[in-house]
Symmetry: C2
Subunit: 219 residues, 2 copies
DNA sequence: AAAATTATTTAGGCTTGCCTAAAAATATAT
DNA sequence: ATATATTTTTAGGCAAGCCTAAATAATTTT
């Protein structure tokens, strides 16, 4: 049996893995989980007992095969639940994270599978992050930011790179959400702000906003 | 902050309250939660500190106003989630309990409300139990078993009193589910079997089946 | 009403997951 | 290469929730 705390450690290690890659230090984990390095060392030992991580004293941690599988399952659940909350229950982007953080620990394979089916096997969560498949594959996404788009190109909003409430609320106001169609009309060279169309409706956004919006190019 | 364990104690006290009524002994709670009486005493003290129960040494426990509110909220969540699992995710009646037992502890008022809305404000869960309202009202149900129905009366299936897979599968085959309309055509006095109509379709069922089906009389 | 039984509480221990402070290992600077 | 700084681990403690065994209160029997 794997405890809630253990699941959170695995998740933390995976998330560090996914962006900074390779071997993870106890300090990094402590930062992510907002706990002490001493607690991390202690827990890492337990995870090693259970063969969920590979650990060499003073050298850092990596996920074992089974640990990685477990961590990806949690990530999958997290992103499926976020999708459920937004698509079915009408939550806003900015509201789903904490609730999904709880829901991701519900232990029922059947539930996860049926939820996936119910949501029609979504590939991306409301933040544009890929949802791991049932077999644990995380399809890599090659996304660019809106600020990198060239004038006259079209794309689809895939997510955001900033998890700030004010920012997300502003996007809601602009009617920007996952899957929205976007077209770049003009770039103002002076301040790098952009005139765009969201679902054919013209808007004008600053560079600060544009650089935190992730796009999949379609033309 | 109320812990998972505390929630389970409150729920246990409420459930004893709902059927045997009145004051609850530590032993009864211990039985329901499958724990020791000593542990119960200990926890009850903590719940008293938090004003969630009223407790006199050696005299038993009752829920305080706030404790009762809290317990009903958990019950509400449990029954809403069961409804979700059956109605939306296509779980069978017999499969939902354990998962709902986990889901009921997710702490988000907003989630509960939105789920309620999504399910279209159901009044009964898949077992025919009433779902407490947002303000904590549990509408009492006066249900009888199908075997108690008189000939020519009509009713609505409210649930079952037996959680057996074979039984439930048989009901599915007969097209009997929550909300189905039922009419009693004839009772065979010899073996107390019954001719009925489920949604206007004639069937013949044994007493063993009839006595495990719960009905709300409508005419 | 005293004795016996049963229910409840107290006492002392255990595990999990956290903490801080100190020690040890590693990395960095001189 | 040695001294200093940083990172990591060890050591010792604490709260939550559980346990068993023993003590005490309440109830039932005789």
């Amino acid at each position: 049996m794997i405890t809630l705390s253990e699941e959170n450690y695995l998740k933390a290690i995976l998330s560090i893995n996914l962006d900074t890659k390779a071997i993870v230090s106890t300090n990094e984990i402590a930062n992510v989980l907002d706990t002490s390095a001493a607690s991390v060392t202690e827990m890492i030992k337990k995870l090693q007992e259970k063969k969920l991580v590979i650990y060499k004293k003073y050298k850092g941690v990596t996920l074992s095969k089974s640990g990685c599988k477990k961590a990806i399952e949690i990530l999958r659940k997290h992103r499926l639940w976020e999708t459920f909350l937004v698509n079915k229950l009408d939550f806003k982007w900015s509201e789903v994270h904490d609730v999904a953080e709880e829901l991701e620990h519900i232990k029922s394979q059947k539930l996860t599978d049926k939820l996936d089916h119910f949501l029609n096997y979504p590939k991306f969560d409301p933040h544009g992050e890929p949802i791991p498949t049932k077999n644990g594959i995380i399809h890599p996404t090659k996304r660019i930011t809106l600020s990198e788009m060239v004038v006259n190109s079209n794309g689809i909003i895939m997510g955001v790179s900033l998890d700030d409430k004010e920012f997300l609320d502003y996007l809601t106001k602009l009617n920007i959400s996952i899957g929205s169609n976007i077209e770049v009309i003009e770039r103002i060279t002076f301040d790098q702000s952009m005139k765009i169309k969201i679902e054919c409706k013209p808007e004008h956004i600053s560079q600060d906003v544009a650089k935190n919006i992730l796009i999949k190019i379609i033309k």
